[in-house]
Symmetry: C2
Subunit: 341 residues, 2 copies
Amino acid sequence: MSNAYNRPDQLSPELRRRVLETARRLGYPGPDPVARSLRTRKAGAVGLLLTENLSYAFRDPAAVGFLEGLALACEDAGQGLLLVPANPEREDVAAVHRAGVDGFVVYSVPDDDPHLAAVLERPVPTVLCDQPDLEDVDRVGIDDRAAMTELARHLIELGHRRVGVVCMRLARDRNDGYVSHERQQSARFHVQRSRLAGLAQAFTEAGVDWQDVPVVERFDHTIASGASAAAQVLERDPRITALICTSDILALGALAEADRRGLRVPQDLTVTGFDGIREAEQSGLTTVRQPVLEKGRAAGKLLLDSAERTRPRSVTLATELIRGTTAAPPRSAADERWFGP
Amino acid sequence: MSNAYNRPDQLSPELRRRVLETARRLGYPGPDPVARSLRTRKAGAVGLLLTENLSYAFRDPAAVGFLEGLALACEDAGQGLLLVPANPEREDVAAVHRAGVDGFVVYSVPDDDPHLAAVLERPVPTVLCDQPDLEDVDRVGIDDRAAMTELARHLIELGHRRVGVVCMRLARDRNDGYVSHERQQSARFHVQRSRLAGLAQAFTEAGVDWQDVPVVERFDHTIASGASAAAQVLERDPRITALICTSDILALGALAEADRRGLRVPQDLTVTGFDGIREAEQSGLTTVRQPVLEKGRAAGKLLLDSAERTRPRSVTLATELIRGTTAAPPRSAADERWFGP
DNA sequence: ATGAAAGCGCTAACAG
DNA sequence: CTGTTAGCGCTTTCAT
């Protein structure tokens, strides 16, 4: 009987037809997928863990791009994609335990996230995205630090020395405001930590004392947050010539805030982002483009090609500095050029 | 032992701690979620079926909004969200059979979709979205027909009588071109069928012979498709004063095509959409806004509140006509006003 | 408080 | 080609 459903070749088409019809007549709804999974040890689905509320994944363009790539990979393999609810506010790890999946993709969670720990305890393959290397776990990501260093050098070349930074959440606790040097270095989000480190390195090399550079953090990753953070930086130090944001979303907010203050970009203020989302491209934002879709697809492939036993594997994708229209030499530098030092 | 994991209250904390520690030391990875699901008859996840390739869900803003709402509802209930791969090109229904879920949400698939049939055969609750009423199945949607009639009347009031229509896929087969009257009426996608019917009704009432109105269909739902469809309509009948698109995405393409041809909107050509996505709002598109997020959330709630036994339940959400800047009286009508009839 | 045992529905292996 | 059976890992019930 099981054969009628799963091995059409093992019996005559006629018999198969008869069996199936009888089954239907008896009200048999077809094999129970859960029982089958238990027996075959295959769930037919990939689990996705992300740090934010589930719905956030659909609000952030970068996350959407990642999901699209991951979905593509799952689709090719005929696998489902299970979004695992992991509320960062609560510590409810149960959802991770209950997920019937053949493997996990973990997308940009803090190092100390209990959900991540729960995933790693499960005896299924896992791919980490935008995380530091972890022993025995596959990884895909970009070189956040190098990319940010390149962007910083671009600004330095333009003449910027007095800059401010707006960054995303650095740890699980909410800290909407200035970031101490210590907090920067101990940030739990690998991506943010690396980007800040890249900035610090480039500016230190250029003779700027990084301790003097104001860095403002926002817990919520929204355009409004970017705007308010930009306001906070500009309030404290109006002489800043460039506002470096660690994401395009935040940069979009900074642009809005600059506009609100009557500051022309890039003449009065340079603004930069990170990610290369479509909305940023449309604004002409100077930013770093990273291949979010490819990242998702690579993560999925890595997970589903677990045939290769050469674990752990690590994939680092290339980024590209986008010289948009929101970065230019600072006013003072331009003036110096005209009037001499 | 099972109690240690699931009933912390049934035994002393001390014992629980000891049991768990011993288990860990023995390399026990925690209860197997699939086996648990089999036993408890709960998968802890909601399945989502959509007609398109899985990754499409992340490219269409309306679908993303719906997903966000659905994810919100799942999150609240601590349920996972399983995206079921259902390639519309293939007839591979297996993924539906294999999905370990407690219920399905079906989002805008054609009436005759085999995946939909497979879902309905499964003995789990189901919520249909943007589908015609089906006996014994919960439903959530909008009144597509009435909304489109309202939009059409708005155009008629402005003076438009010679219009063209660009619509989405009407059935599972690809038909990039003109749509016969017969195909319009037998369209397998409830949403498109209703919207066309709403248009036909309004224009017929206004004395326009609907048979004369060119309707062009596109299989792919992209801005490029909208542009090429618009071109096709304008090519055949340059005297058209308004281009009615059954989605904002298509309308965005139509706007681009109008621009390419040097037609000013709305002076030379009126263009309208449907859905009310953010990109449309930014373009000032005249359209119908529907609450996509609410639709997703309502679908999730309906599914998860299966406590209420008064099935089938039906939820119809309100829509709103958005009078944007892409609709105005047609040239001829305006001329008549200036120079007299 | 603890241990033993039944059985969820299926598939794979094997016997007829 | 067909029928039978063991057991996947868990939870629940019942007995100790």
